[in-house]
Symmetry: C4
């Protein structure tokens, strides 16, 4: 179990860096995974830009998004997004919240992203919109209160993703690798859909195609291929690699934080 | 003959990496070449992202897309694209299937790519569309059955490329270098055509210009120049170089696979 | 005080390089900060491309934009932009003038940038336009005369940024880190707004949202996260790091200049 | 004189690499400079992609575009572009022919590039169009015959640049550094103009502004700044540096060619 957890923490750190390097995350956004040994816990980094996250940055949270151990570092303000979705969706094992440039035009124009190529089917038939203003009026648009997270989770419903007006998107998956693939392919899909509009009306997948193609990214050959590819691209980019592996919920290095 | 084959396998691995680095291939897509000593065989990598392919990954297939030796690795699901085209077209010596971002808007909007600049003439007068749904109804859009590959090859006909609705493109060539040039120039052409639409109606090449400019990329000075350029860019990018050369149909290193 | 100044000079050099690496500045553009010990002085590099600026390049200027010590190097022609804004705005501690590709379409079409996502609120409700031609007729569009700088400062008024027709933008902040964040987020906002237009009418933030979200980038957790991220990206890019720290107003190395 | 020529040859090789790295040139395109000691000669590389050009690749040509020494390497097919312009324009000291992605939409839609920001004024008031088909009918669109080069030079007339339908652009300058700046700024201008169209009607510079801003890139402070910046970016990219300096018209290394 301990080895499994250590591996999952390393994979979560890598998932953060891959999604950052592939243009889904930037200075912001975060990725979590449900605790493999306790469905009432989830794992998420301390507040840090995803490209920099190391295993030692990963902390353990309750589903109320409270850190299990007293935190020695800043925490993400929007962690209720993760906790509230894990509470509402037993089937969700991993969550990514992001502001990817590819989806932002849709979040700003309020127009739906639709699956327009086979890999884009990973997003499902459609993704609902959630406008924080509708229920909560003027806010700074961060999802920080439990009731905000719960409202977002309600709109997500059984979908694979939810678009947040004037803010970004939240994507869920049955596992980390599924989540990473879905997040990346949904961004590619959004980019292709937007540019196809310059030519005419984009042709969305038939409903049956969405169902059949929606699980393509779960095929073992596909997972092996994409994970090796994204990992190698990250490595070749020279972005900072993790300096070591952390034990369960290891607190982030206090010295490094204090310097800052 | 053995030396010639070894060289061609190295060139095929390099062609994969060049097309990946130049933005034609990504985690997906694949490139094959007809066997230089046996027109009823072709060479194609095991299932792996093109940017990572080494000579040792290249396997030999029959035109029914069966591996000649029992495979020790996962194979590309869509290899019938290659086999069916080699069966239908004696003149084709190399095939590339891809989902390049530059062509995707056209594949999604169902609007034709047309040669709009001299190097774009490498694609020929036009490229037909093939919609898997028309003949096969709901699928996951992968071309995996022989009858799907044969249908695609029929639509390709005598053209240099075929666009696949909601999926991507398949390009053919009389040799590997011709194929690489054609694939890259067709993507540039698609990008220029799309952006020219923001200004007005793109001006396509005159038919006589397409014929005359269509062979530009085959000129020895051009081939020398482009191949040196693309190889150098790939090298400068720091992407992983091949660790060694493989003998004919060498099976991929089992250890490396097992680790995964 | 001396240590504080040395640190601020190092931070100003880094701010230049970060803004260059993040695509706000290119061969041109410049960033200044008000002197921490004397509100009637400001710090700005000698004439040099921002990506290359080292602490030793930073000079001290009066608010009339005259160098405090006789300069041994070329100075930026447009430094009155900085001096005139510091004269007009007591609250401004840092100024950035740039021609970022993201804002140029707006400066050329004369259409306003509006806050369309939460981080974009850092720009404020809107940014006025200033057309040098209106008051000064034909010029080379550089802001070099005190009256040109004063006119620009008047149009800026109490805003966080001003768009300059057919030229670029000038952004101000209450400190260097606020300025860097605002400049970057405003460029992202402009990019998203432009691309959202392909889908329909961009949905701007509600006025109350702009107020609440406008200070997001000042949150300590956000500042820590963004600064670490941008610094790391700059470092990973291999762009030239500063060779050393300079004492107060150290003149640029004459030898290096003479070589040129 | 010999030292001056050696320096100019090194600068020409660097100009090629800078223009390639800044996205003006790719596998194709070429840059020449008039011989500093003989106005009836010009210097141009052997046929090679610009990013790879070293001083040893530079050859000397007559204005009839014949190599002065028997060539040991392939030559650019389109060198008459250079010779014919040097014959027609005494004031031109440097020529660049390119297919930059930024200008291609204009060359394809046949819509003019207009100066829309201060640095874009380097292109002048406008750039005429030349359609090879109008005078020569069906060709492969390469400018290879003297009469083709002469026709292009006639259309260029007294302008700074000429757009070639379905092909690219040719830019001229009073010196290498002016040419490099003009080529880069004209591409930026084209990119901004195209994207401004998504917002409305681009606002072109007033005629007086074009005159005054047109010489901005010749200011010594600007030249120093841009050349240092572009050189540093090239260096940081890891693209291959020249291995040494060549004497006058040194023939390219035959061994390297033969390997190819």
């Amino acid at each position: 179990m301990a080895a499994k957890l250590t591996d999952l923490i390393a994979e979560l750190a890598l998932a953060n860096r891959i999604l950052a390097h592939e243009g889904v995350l930037d200075a912001f956004g975060h990725v979590s995974v449900r605790h493999p040994g306790d469905p009432n816990r989830y794992l998420l980094s301390r507040s840090r830009s995803p490209l920099l996250i190391e295993p030692g940055d990963i902390l353990e949270y309750t589903l109320d998004s409270q850190p299990v151990k007293p935190p020695k570092a800043h925490l993400y303000a929007e962690r209720v997004i993760h906790g509230c979705i894990y509470q509402a969706r037993d089937d969700v094992m991993a969550v990514c919240h992001h502001h990817a440039p590819a989806v932002m035009p849709f979040c700003i124009a309020g127009k739906p992203i639709q699956p327009v190529f086979h890999l884009g089917a990973a997003m499902g038939e459609d993704a609902p919109f959630w406008d924080q203003y509708d229920e909560f009026g003027d806010t700074n648009l961060l999802v920080v209160k439990p009731e905000e997270g719960q409202s977002l989770a309600r709109t997500l419903g059984k979908h694979n993703a939810v678009l947040m007006n004037r803010h970004g998107a939240t994507v869920v998956g049955g596992g980390l690798k599924e989540l990473v693939s879905r997040s990346i392919f949904m961004c590619q899909n959004a980019d292709y859909q937007l540019r196809a509009l310059a030519l005419g009306t984009p042709d969305r997948l038939h409903p049956g195609e969405v169902k059949l193609a929606g699980t393509l990214s779960l095929l073992p050959t596909v997972v092996t291929r994409t994970w090796e590819y994204w990992s190698m691209r990250l490595k070749a980019s020279g972005a900072i690699p993790p300096r070591g592996r952390a034990a369960k919920s290891a607190p982030p290095r206090a010295k490094a934080r204090r310097k800052r």
